[in-house]
Symmetry: C2
Subunit: 202 residues, 2 copies
DNA sequence: GCGCATCCGGAGACCTTCTCCATATGCTAG
DNA sequence: CTAGCATATGGAGAAGGTCTCCGGATGCGC
């Protein structure tokens, strides 16, 4: 009886930072990015159990190419999740640069709620599929917390939010609002958002 | 591109209570029980992705028989989980009958911690594999809470525990202790247990 | 422009899921 | 106690998915 594949991040899973270490051939990079984009769409439409050969076909690569970049399903799921978390985190740093602290925090919070709701709950689908003990899970959690801290600290310094808020509080609130708004329309979502954002004030 | 099987409890998953409604043939009942026992062992040893034909082979039934009782992997996982939760819950009611309230609560708490640690974390493995929106998940959560309430209420009435404890508090504490004790020996576990149990007192 | 290291891709081996239907058997009625 | 029938079994095999191997393709540096 075979032992199923343990859900840990294989060494082969590349982080974005790794690209800086060893330049990838242009065709290899293009294929990898196309695979990730296609996988994201396929996971959103059909769940994480969609056949990998189907993803390869949609991405117009051979199965050998897909498996060369991502040795198994878990690796692909984790890579897509890392991209999702990376993009959401990057938004925090961008908003800090563009807006006053309170507005930046509010804008990011709205984006987080939108992100959780996006593509029929892709974020939660991916998160549920990832081993809680994996490097990817720990890495993403840390990344998000640091991004939210980058928003919270200026807002706190400006006296715009209550002093006892932690980054994890905001993340839980965002998840809660998104879940509560599962069947809400735009106005309903906006009401809940304004309630929560008002509640953040000192 | 095919849509993967949605993780919801199929109607065909039998609850223990159903057996009272429609008597099963003796050979069918024996087979079903043997499949469940074997599945529990296989999931503990190899995870929930162990091939179902292997479980059938170990249980000495044909694949057709296994699929007659459990239409797919999720049904089997949920059935095993229901049995686990059923047994743990039943212990609460039994202990209430056998012991004074405070001792019953302490004894059950120890059993819960032991249960979480049992068979290399089988309980968590199964729980992680079950859809959070499923009937099984909701049913088991309710069952556990009611069982713990049956322990808490007499203990509270006897003044043996602080008044503000909820069943879910105890369940979370048990999970936390089991997790904290992942690599602890018997003495270490006992120390943590005694700390937490002392903390329950008013 | 050439050469070489790297990348690609897809046929096919292997594994798992799951069904169909001929055979087996539990259990009730006579 | 036996026969008959409704229910249960089981396993060969069809179908689908995973994943590898290696000949051919191509990016890129010199």
């Amino acid at each position: 009886m075979r032992k199923p594949i343990r859900r840990v991040s294989p060494i082969g899973v590349r982080c974005v930072a790794e690209d800086a270490v060893k330049p990838m051939r242009a065709d290899a990079r293009r294929n990898r990015e196309r695979i990730l984009t296609t996988a994201r769409e396929a996971f959103a439409e059909h769940g994480v159990e969609v056949p990998l050969d189907d993803i390869a076909r949609r991405a117009r690569v051979g199965p050998g190419t897909l498996y060369r970049h991502f040795p198994n399903r878990d690796a692909l799921v984790e890579a897509v999740y890392r991209e999702e978390i990376g993009a959401l985190s990057a938004r925090a740093y961008a908003l800090v640069e563009e807006l006053p602290p309170e507005e930046a925090l509010a804008a990011w919070f709205r984006e987080q709620v939108g992100w959780v709701r996006d593509s029929s709950g892709l974020a939660m689908t991916l998160k549920a599929a990832i081993d809680r003990d994996s490097e990817t899970f720990a890495f993403c959690k840390k990344q998000l917390r640091e991004a939210v801290a980058a928003l919270l600290e200026p807002a706190r310094a400006a006296g715009a939010v209550r002093a006892n808020l932690e980054p994890s509080d905001l993340l839980r609130l965002g998840h809660g609002v998104a879940t509560a708004c599962e069947h809400a329309d735009g106005e309903g979502i906006e009401r809940l958002l304004s309630v929560v954002l008002a509640g953040l004030r000192p």
